[in-house]
Symmetry: C2
Subunit: 316 residues, 2 copies
């Protein structure tokens, strides 16, 4: 059934469940808008004041970089600071992973694209807004702000041009942040990246050290060509974490526990007790071997990364 | 510690565990070689006759497209036919998922890059070989050959230029098929893509229909922002499968069972009994609801895809 796009145009019948995510038909990256009101009316950013538009259960539809926050803007990579008392001079409480911040966190889990608009600070167009296309929330973490209060930070990475949803393509709203099928006799399906599992030479070594057995639950998945496991870097390789690609920073996990660790739902204490953060149950103790020790500093980094105090371990 | 590269040069100390995968230092895409012997001596393809070089437990290091097989070569995408009685006039038995075929299947699981060399069939350089860079094994499946015998087919997708391992970069052998970290104060770590989890609007709908509960094991992972599940297309969207992005072709699975389904280790019969192919144990029955029915034709396609006869269900 056809639903209304933010812009008002109906979707064609090949695009079910359009829900405000992705490119807005007729709006190209680089297009300028005079006011927040214009951004809202066209559906680029459907919030008149808030910097984050979206829903916590699905993801963030769009963000506006107003230039007033402590955002770390590298163009194609943005370290976006969450909402809630973010001015260092006025921050009086911790930011919470709720509302807009929860929406951005959900985007990391669903892989849905986020529209990014920047407020132009200088030059002839100062004060206006520029839509800069679609980004993906690759990671998020908490940091201690200058006054000791917690801020949430989100790593947004620009999607390739082919995934920016050119209006020339069919169903632009849904092709945004997606990849088309190579052949198209039937209506083309589009997909967004929900998760990318990476590996490294060190990661493959750790997987072999544990014979592809999960260090949390002890399961060993039998794949088509042998054991299957995934390597998790406790302290991520990417900035700002800059974790080392070393065996003491890598765990051999089954995909389920890899997802939970990456989402901060699996907390590992220095004594290697593993706690399920969702219900505070104790899952057991991380399996460590003589040849493969885990660096406790990286475990502490992971706890802080996900909003726990650095000097306190998590109690089941 | 420094190890010898296929080309003979030592790796620098920042590249542990080099194992013959990825770009060969000094060899750029497009470079020609007069003979198979030259290919072998430089380490581009360390087999004098076989088309696939590698190890079943780690992956394929390289393949040579000799132009004699029924390969479907689109340049950046290659449907590569496995080894073992591949000439339709002479195929007298099924190809097995062993040796070179097992190595290519392992590459799909490990994400390690595969060097691709093409034999030049026509023109002034006819008969010579051209190294065409690094590819990823994205998928593989079995088909019935012209004479009713099974052939294994592998979908190789060319890696982006940035991942082709320019010699100018440090540790070229390991940067091949990889992505560099954005910052490099410490020696840069490199990673290869082991797995990409995609989603679609229909997939997200199915996940909500089941409240992110795995249809095989009933587990519901609690992520940071709600339930976490992955959607699996029973019949893949990509050619040559061309499965529909429709609810009856999608399952809501936990990451563990998603991996097993994709690798053909989870067999679902028409009566929805689920069998663990590794040990032929019965895992139970797929959870189906009134609003979400599974199309048995796609289940049959999945069984054939992974080498089971189409008209026979799998016995536990």
């Amino acid at each position: 059934m056809a639903k209304a796009l933010p812009g008002g145009q109906p979707t064609d019948s090949d695009t079910p469940h359009f829900d405000g995510f992705g490119a807005v038909p007729g709006v190209r990256p680089g297009q300028r808008f005079a006011t927040r009101r214009a951004l809202a009316q066209t559906g680029v950013h459907r919030q008149s004041i808030a910097g984050i538009a979206g829903r916590g259960d699905r993801g963030a539809e769009s963000v506006v970089l107003a230039g007033t926050h402590a955002d770390d803007d590298h163009g194609d990579v943005i370290i976006y600071t969450g909402e809630g008392s973010v001015d260092p001079r006025r921050q009086t409480h911790d930011q919470q992973l709720t509302r807009g911040n929860a929406a951005l966190a959900a985007s990391a889990a669903t892989g849905l694209p986020v529209r990014v608009t920047r407020r132009i600070a200088t030059g002839p167009h100062a004060g206006s807004y520029r839509y800069d296309g679609l980004y993906r929330v690759e990671d998020y973490w908490s940091e201690q702000g200058p006054h000791g209060h917690r801020v949430w930070r989100f790593r947004l990475v620009q999607l390739p041009a082919v995934e920016q949803g050119e209006v020339a393509q069919p169903t632009p709203a849904l092709t945004a942040g997606t990849q088309m099928r190579e052949r198209g006799d039937r209506p083309r399906s589009v997909s967004s990246v929900q998760r990318v599992v990476r590996s490294t030479a060190t990661a493959n070594l750790v997987k072999r050290m544990h014979d592809y057995t999960c260090q949390v639950c002890g399961i060993r998945l039998q794949g088509a060509t042998g054991g299957y496991a995934e390597a998790a870097h406790i302290r991520p390789l990417e900035p700002p974490h800059d974790g080392p690609d070393a065996v003491e920073n890598v765990l051999c996990l089954c995909p389920n526990h890899h997802v939970l660790l990456d989402q901060g739902m699996l907390i590992i204490n220095d004594d290697l007790t593993v706690v399920n953060r969702a219900d505070s149950t104790l899952l057991g103790r991380l399996h460590e071997t003589a040849e493969h020790r885990v660096d406790r500093r990286h475990l502490a980094h992971h706890r802080v990364h996900h909003g726990l105090p650095t000097d306190v371990t998590y109690q089941a």
